[in-house]
């Protein structure tokens, strides 16, 4: 089986999708001749032409707004926003239109589109390039939010997102683009949206994470084995809709939970996960659900990035606290 990193598996998925559906368009800044700032669309314009892989003016509201019109006419826009921190100028098009047009038109027009964006810290980028505000999008009714944590999932989830009849925000952890290579089948496969992944089994505690935090949590779990602690790990993958059942099932087994994310703590997705768990597994909880997160501060520049970004030590410490509650 071929071996790929995440950027390659995403490119692979985009290529498959372009080949499979003549109405699929890729729109974004520098996605064409340049192949995207992270090379996710490299070679695709050459293969499919500038009417399918389209360099857009530097205007995010235009990218999303025009995609809406294209979708009305049966095109399937896959938009690339250069960094999640630059989606804000398109926020109004997203929340006021993309997320509501199916509802507003009472089913006449679904907004089947994907908006891809790199997200999160870990590579010491400059301001706004490391934002991790996935919460906004999870809170908006009418859209789905997906965050892969490995090359295999990235391809399967992206193909599922592209196939979805509704708008999907597809967030790609910048730190993982070239982090890891793994076997990724050349053929078409989908990973259903809304299904979490049990990454590791364990009975002492459930660790919940997504995207760039999954490898960190995995490493912490490995190290904790030395202390005879067996952690179960769930990669949520799909932040909306999210797989409440798998989580609740795990919590019913372990009774203890930590949620890990890079986003600011207050109203990060961890808040929803914690609120849901205590609603649905209250009697099984043996300790409070603890959140290991970025702090409630502006996303820092590179030098202090590591202080804000949850790391193995913070996670291990939190695990000990929850276990010894």
């Amino acid at each position: 089986m071929p071996v790929s990193n995440m950027i390659e598996s995403i490119r692979d998925a985009l290529g498959i999708a372009l080949a499979a559906d003549d109405d699929l368009l890729i729109l974004g800044e520098d996605v064409g001749r340049y192949g995207g700032v992270f090379r996710a669309t490299e070679g695709l314009q050459e293969r499919y032409g500038p009417d399918r892989v389209i360099d857009m003016p530097l205007a995010e509201s235009s990218i999303i707004g025009a995609a809406i019109g294209l979708a009305l006419e049966g095109y399937k826009p896959v938009c690339e926003i250069q960094f999640l921190g630059f989606l804000y100028p398109g926020f109004e098009q997203l929340i006021s239109h993309v997320s509501r047009i199916r509802y507003r038109t009472q089913g006449d027009y679904g907004m089947s589109m994907v908006i891809r964006a790199p997200m999160g810290s870990g590579v010491k980028s400059h301001e706004l390039h490391s934002d991790s505000f996935e919460s906004f999008y999870v809170h908006i009714p009418g859209i789905k939010v997906v965050v892969p944590s490995n090359p295999y999932d990235a391809k399967g989830l992206l193909l599922a997102a592209i196939d979805d009849p509704d708008p999907v925000i597809f967030l790609e952890p910048t730190a993982l683009y070239r982090a890891e290579r793994e076997e990724v089948p050349a053929e078409i496969y989908q990973i259903p949206l809304g299904a979490a992944k049990l990454v590791r089994e364990g009975q002492d505690l459930t660790m919940i994470a997504w995207g760039g935090m999954v490898p960190v949590v995995k490493e912490a779990a490995v190290q904790l084995v030395e202390d005879q602690i067996q952690c179960e790990i769930i990669d949520i993958r799909s932040l909306y809709p999210f797989d409440q059942d798998l989580i609740v099932q795990s919590v019913k087994k372990t009774g203890r939970v930590i949620v890990v994310h890079e986003a600011p703590r207050t109203l990060g997705v961890g808040a929803e996960v914690a609120a849901m768990i205590q609603e649905q597994a209250f009697l099984f909880l043996e300790a409070p659900i603890m959140r290991v997160t970025g702090y409630d501060v502006p996303t820092p520049l590179g030098a202090l990035e590591h202080v804000n970004r949850p790391d193995v030590n913070r996670i291990k410490k939190a695990v000990q606290q929850v276990l010894h509650y």
């Binding site: 999303i64 509802y103 009472q106």
Partner: protein, 355 residues
């Protein structure tokens, strides 16, 4: 400012030309639509004041702009209206009944079933201009002779999305018509406090396509201008910005008090230039119409409005679970649970999907 019919109902030199080219049918239809829209709008204002519908945004005084522009479209063309452009939407196919549902706060009114090509009213100012650019782009990509008509107000020109839409349309030379009803005010803000330029039309220079300034209270010039622009756009000549000078004779919405920001004198002046009277006068003078027809048409239009309302009031209300219909193509599990809360709470049939 291009004009065919003067405020007193006389043809200008340019108007004579246009007049001679048009069929009687079209001349009459334009008039009928204005009568129909006027009846609807006036009645809605009354109903809104009486609390029979929710707050309402009247287009009173702008009928020529809305009829002339929408009537120039072909069925395959796209219309992107604002909250004030239900007049144009009705001309393009939206049944009055649907519009009334909307003003009653019932989302079912937004459904078109694709029978006319328009999005429901866009409430966030200027955002829909980009949607029109998108459908126009699709027409170009698919090589179809479809144009997109975006309606917006003078205030909309200040928003960033206006600029982005014009830039993209100009860059790709797309078949989109930007039709600005410059009714002089954005709620209370006069255009002179809105915009760095005195006119809307001169903004077109910045986007590499032509701008045309017309009398927006003159249905003939509106119709002719939009039809011609649409024709050229279909042939690949790219976008046009049309500034239609008009005036909102009514309030911004029924909760607005225009006397707070404009003079009675000004309203009176514009009343004298209003679109229906002058065109009707022309048709009467030219013998295309007679008084009896006028009276009969008015009566039947009024009747149509009342009937539409009757239908709406007798239509079944959707169940509470309708809140969850069409949020997604397939309801996610958690939303199903939430939907069931509503079912339980109101004792409604969980399987019923309103249509």
């Amino acid at each position: 400012m291009k004009q065919c019919v003067t405020p007193t109902g006389k043809l200008t030199a340019y108007g004579e030309q246009i007049w001679s080219k048009l069929s009687i049918d079209i001349k009459k239809e334009l008039w009928k639509w204005m009568v129909r829209l006027r009846a609807y709008d006036q009645q809605c204002m009354v109903w809104s004041r009486q609390g029979k519908i929710l707050t309402y945004a009247p287009y009173f005084g702008q009928e020529a702009s809305q009829v002339g522009s929408a009537f120039a479209l072909q069925p395959q063309d796209w219309l992107f209206p604002t909250y004030r452009d239900h007049g144009a939407a009705i001309v393009h196919g939206l049944p009055m009944k649907h519009s009334l549902f909307y003003w009653l706060g019932r989302i079912e009114g937004n459904r078109s079933g694709g029978k006319w090509r328009a999005l429901p009213a866009s409430v966030p100012i200027a955002t829909h201009l980009l949607h029109a650019v998108g459908t126009a782009w699709a027409a170009t990509l698919r090589n179809r002779p479809t144009v997109s008509l975006a309606l917006f107000g003078d205030g909309a020109t200040s928003e960033g999305d206006f600029h982005e839409a014009c830039n993209l349309a100009g860059l790709k030379q797309l078949p989109v018509l930007f039709f600005c009803q410059n009714n002089r005010y954005a709620i209370s803000t006069p255009f002179g406090e809105q915009s760095a330029t005195e006119t809307v039309v001169e903004k077109a220079h910045a986007y590499g396509f032509p701008g045309i300034r017309i009398d927006g209270n003159d249905v003939l010039v509106v119709y002719e201008t939009v039809k011609h622009a649409a024709h050229k756009a279909r042939l690949g000549n790219g976008p046009v910005l049309i500034e239609a000078l008009t005036y909102r004779l009514g309030p911004h919405t029924m909760s607005d008090l225009p006397q707070r920001y404009r003079m009675m004198e000004e309203e009176r002046e514009w009343n004298a230039r209003e679109p229906l009277q002058r065109y009707q006068q022309l048709l009467l003078d030219q013998g295309v119409l007679n008084e009896q027809e006028v009276q009969e048409t008015k009566r039947s239009c009024q009747q149509q409005v009342l009937e539409s309302m009757n239908q709406v009031l007798h239509a079944a209300s959707p169940p509470n679970t309708h809140l969850f219909a069409h949020v997604f193509a397939v309801l996610p599990r958690d939303l199903k649970k939430q939907r069931n809360e509503v079912v339980g709470r109101r004792g409604m049939d969980a399987c019923f999907e309103y249509d």
